[in-house]
Symmetry: C2
Subunit: 334 residues, 2 copies
DNA sequence: TTGTAAGCGTTATCAA
DNA sequence: TTGATAACGCTTACAA
């Protein structure tokens, strides 16, 4: 391992001088020695020791990305939304010259460890961390950026989207196209702000149009027999003709189950998703969905992070990104 | 920040004693003091400073995951195979009590930085790093685990799958079902060992059966008009009836393009993918594909990593995992 | 413009 | 079973 001292000895200066050069503190070092030192560092293949830096400066160029780990078997990154967001975040953070640690966490102590152990400069919470936000903020005085949080705590920096509006857009589109008998497919609602708001927007527009969503039209993510349930919903006196899902991933499941049951999309059943993942252009028929701009979300997240790192007194901001309906072919038109 | 010293003072011992307790060096500390120290640490919310540890012990419990960054706009984690593998790896590594850094790298100096700067205990290379392996091994004396590498360097620890066999399986399945006029869709072959071997296995079996793959039946990933090309291939005197793709992701593109052009799958055109991503069960029709066990791959990768960390003298191993053909509905049967 | 000295939180080593 | 001391590689603060 090459250290500052190695370079210093070879250059016949003190290691402080080398340190200054390596940190671009030009102006504090003469042009000549600076060049010489740079050259030697290059030759020796010097790489600064980040641990030592973090220790001495009590700060690091490290960001922690925290993903909620629900259970041992499920892998958060299998969710395309998550992996896409994380990937974009990684890109942005690298661009800022920071490094990224990836932490799957399942309880408070794991979060604490992730933040404190490595002296991270800031952290991004991807997923749901609403319960522990207050305590997190008390215990850690570094920028904590939450995503898609609907915490009631106001002093929180969050990047989200207009979930409610997304639900509205979906409902409106269904109504415009003559769909009045609708259903919902998604995770259990109450413990998830995002889902709840999407659903509320959806239901509210329907209600205003005099359309109601009977309880039996709510399908839970772990319904035992999705195909059978769909079949039931789509038959009888007053068949369901449209389903709103809270994620494109869920819509793909509907596609599959519907196909198996001989339910045609959009002929017999229309579907609207949420997210607009890459795959949604590719499925057949193309999925009509509420689009969120994941790249922008990641970029904004990183911007907030940097801003808060540079200015620890920066006020809490809750940024809400727009959503839009992307019209493809999964809804039967009037 | 709570330090060993804080605990030591409160407990009336030296920080060395506390250090020993925190590192589970029981047997070197009396039962009584050990308990007392643990309790105080708990109360104070002590979290060990990993930077200091890394510095003092010249080793860290850190693993670097390196992803090849091709260009600024493309995001490696948008690829479901990558994100799935990374996710599983994260799970495994956490289980071993290690932390994970995620690095997008595009040249040698970035790799070097990733490995040296944080004193990582080991690294996993995801993607293609064949060119620089020799130099990497010379410059770094920590376990480096490669995945899907076909480097000619023999002293390399690698986890891969039997790509060649995968190609064979696909070809056999096509032949068994009477498909003799076939095509290939994938990235340019030469600069990618994985793709090349899949294709070779495929072509070899075909050749042995007296079937050849004319050059015009090779479609490049960035073909300008996939739909048009497909249409052309599937029409005329001797239409192509089957396409082998080197990734499920590519197969989904075929699905989409075929649908737009009115080409039915598998009626007019059969498709075989590679990977068996979750999505492949969900698309319509279900994708017949060569399955690789990504979870197992990640588990093996982590095992190798740990083995090599514990025993730096461990011999280089090239582990080749099996593949199998998963039969679904995307191939028209004889 | 450069250098000295101290210290960051921890572990290694040796001594008691 | 415990502690004192010296690192680890770097930065901060101050002095020259």
């Amino acid at each position: 391992m090459v250290t500052l001292k190695d370079i210093a000895e070879k250059a016949g200066v003190s290691s402080m001088t080398v340190s200054r050069v390596m940190n671009g503190k030009t102006g504090a070092v003469s042009q000549k020695t600076s060049e010489r030192i740079k050259k030697i560092a290059q030759e020796l293949g010097y790489v600064p020791n980040s641990s030592a830096r973090a220790l001495a400066s009590r700060s690091s160029r490290l960001i922690a990305a925290l993903l909620q780990e629900y259970d041992e078997d499920s892998n958060p990154l299998e969710d395309s939304y998550m992996s896409c967001f994380l990937g974009e975040l990684a890109l942005q953070i690298k661009k800022e010259g920071y490094d990224l640690m990836l932490h799957y966490v399942k309880d408070y102590s794991e979060i604490t460890y992730s933040l404190k152990s490595w002296n991270v400069a800031g952290a991004v919470f991807i997923g749901m961390f609403d319960e522990s936000i207050r305590k997190l903020q008390e215990d850690n005085h570094i920028p904590l950026i939450f995503t898609d949080s609907y915490s009631s705590i106001r002093s929180i920096t969050n990047v989200g989207i207009d979930d409610y509006r997304g639900g509205e857009l979906a409902a409106k589109y269904f109504l415009e196209n003559g769909h009045k008998n609708l259903a919902f497919y998604g995770p259990e609602v109450l413990d998830n702000g995002v889902v709840m708001h999407r659903l509320r927007g959806f239901v509210t527009v329907l209600r205003e149009a005099g359309v109601s969503l009977p309880p039996e039209n709510f399908m839970d993510l772990d319904v035992k027999d999705l195909g059978g349930t769909l079949k039931k919903l789509c038959s009888g006196e007053n068949p369901v003709t449209g389903i709103f899902t809270t994620a494109d991933n869920c819509a793909y499941q509907i596609y599959s189950a519907a196909y198996r049951m001989g339910i045609r999309i959009p002929g017999d059943l229309s579907v609207i998703g949420f997210d607009d993942l890459n795959m949604s252009r590719l499925v057949t028929p193309g999925l009509t969905t509420v689009r969120q701009d994941i790249k922008k979300k990641a970029a904004v997240t990183c911007d907030l992070l940097m801003k808060n790192i540079k200015d620890p007194g920066a006020p809490a901001e809750n940024i809400v990104l727009n959503v839009e309906l992307v019209e493809r072919e999964s809804v039967r038109k009037r």
